[in-house]
Structures are given as C-alpha cells and as structure tokens.
C-alpha cells in the first residue's frame, strides 16, 4: 500500500487536501452570508461580505490545521 509507507504519496495526499480546504470554507461562509441576507434580514450586501470574510479566515484556519497535523 503506497500512501501509508511512502512519504511521497503521503505528501501528495496532504497537498491535494489543503486546496479544497481553503475553497470549501469560503463557499460555506459566502453561502451562509447570502442566506442570511436573503431570508433572515434585509441586509444585502453586508451578510455576503461578512460571510465571505469569515469564510476566508476559516479556510486559512482549516488549511493551517491540516498542515499542522502533517508535521
């Protein structure tokens, strides 16, 4: 089984992971902000703006945590 033993495959697995980690949090953050704008408060565009900012922060946080685990 390559991935567990060979450091190359383990590294490849981690690298593939971090990219999606960044993107997914951004989409979720923006999506939640947009939902709050449209259905909860009539606050457009501020919910989307705040949501995207929080999503970006949490994406970086997720990527950082993923990299930490790898040490």
């Amino acid at each position: 089984m390559p991935p567990s033993t060979d450091p190359f495959y383990a590294g490849l697995g981690q690298a593939v992971r971090i990219g999606t980690e960044l993107l997914a949090a951004l989409i979720v953050g923006g999506g939640l902000g947009w939902l709050a704008d449209t259905y909860l408060f009539a606050s457009a565009p501020w919910g989307l703006v705040t949501g995207l900012a929080l999503g970006a922060v949490s994406g970086v946080l997720n990527a950082y945590r993923a990299a930490q685990r790898w040490k």
Binding site: T20, E21, A25, L32, G59
Partner: protein
Amino acid sequence: MDNPLHPFELHPFGQLSLFGLDISLNQAVIMMWVVVAVVAGLLIVAGTSKRLVPTKLQSLAELLVDFIRGMILETMGKDGMRFFPFLATLFLFILFCNLLGLIPGLYTVTSQIVVTAAFALFVYGMSVVVGLARHGVKFLGILIPPGTPLWLLPLMMPIELISQLARPLSLAVRLFANMTAGHTVLAVLFGMALSLPLLIAWLPFAFTIAINGLEVIIAFIQAYIFTILTCVYLGDAMHLHGQDEHAH
C-alpha cells in the same frame, strides 16, 4: 470529436417506478452493484483459506486490513477500532469505484456528486451524532477553540461554525472533482488521439496511457484521503480538543 463529458451522462434502462418514485436503473446503480459484488467476492474468497502461509489473495486482504487498521489507530486510537467495519467498507467501496471506473467502458460512480455528497453528509452526520452521544451538550464546545479569550468569542464562534460546515462540502467536492477532472482529461486526450492523423496521434495516445497510470494513483489517494478524514472527524468528535489525544 465526441463530447468529453459524454462518459458522465446517465441513461436509465427502461422505466421503473415505486409509489410514484422514479427508481429506474442506470449505469451508476448497476456499477455500484458490480463494485459491491467484486469487493465482497474478493474478500470472501480471500477469507476462506485461513492458511498460516498465506495465498496471494489472502496476503492482499491481510495487507488491506492492516492498512486500514493502522489508519484508524493513528488517528483515533484504540477505541476507534469499533468503527473498523464501517471505515473498511467505506474505503474499499470508494477504492473499487475509482479503480473499476478506470477500465474503459465502465462507469465511474464517484464522478457523480450525488454519490460523494451522500457519503460526506452521512459521515459528517455520524460524527455529530457520535459527539453528542458521548459528550452531550458539551460537544458544542467544539465551536470554541481552547484558550480563546472571552471578548474574541463572537468572532471565533462563526469562524469555527463555518469551518465545521465546510467539512462535508470539502469531503464531497474533493472526491467528485478529482474523479471528474481525471476522466475528462483522459477523454479529451483520447479524443485527440482518435481525430488526429496517425503521424501525430501517437503523442496524445502516449499521454492517455501515462495519465491512466497517474489516475490509478489518484484513485488510491482519494479513497485514502476520504477515509482518513472520516477517521479524523470521528476522532475529533470522540476526543474534544485532543483531550487524551493519542498520536500527533
């Protein structure tokens, strides 16, 4: 030249419905049955000969079991072993969906986001249920990273909430996107090889073969990542903030 997205299209064989629900069979459903049959058959045959000096098939099965076991012990510790049957099934199913999909003419089930999203949502829901069952209301403390000062809480809780909700999305999209992208590249390259004159067609054809080799590695790595992240999420739910953490 054929549409490179053509291999992902699903066509139902005839019409079947149950209480108004459309349950007609298509390639993806049949392919999932094939995968289940192949995995089950392989492991049953491998498991019947319990020899001390293993046969080839038996040692392959032992290697797989040992690999999954190592993955669980590394991320969840000993009490994670109760999830072994679930995680082994998940890993083998995704791995064989990816690998069998690489055989030309067979459908890649994991290139449908419905399938990967169903897995990801189930896995994430399971981790929430495990966390709530184990820690009760204290499980919501997962939204507060340890050592956060009180005045930062209004900022940290939304951030943590987003990072939690991003888990199923990234799990589903990663597997789906990798499979779809890989097969699209293969289709484009092979389409080029078919439509170009023979003098130059060998080049994209050689690349098709090389990328097919790469796709075998990707198939393995994606199954591995999906399973190890499942382990990590379940482990997070079981040991809040790494209290009594084992590895790392």
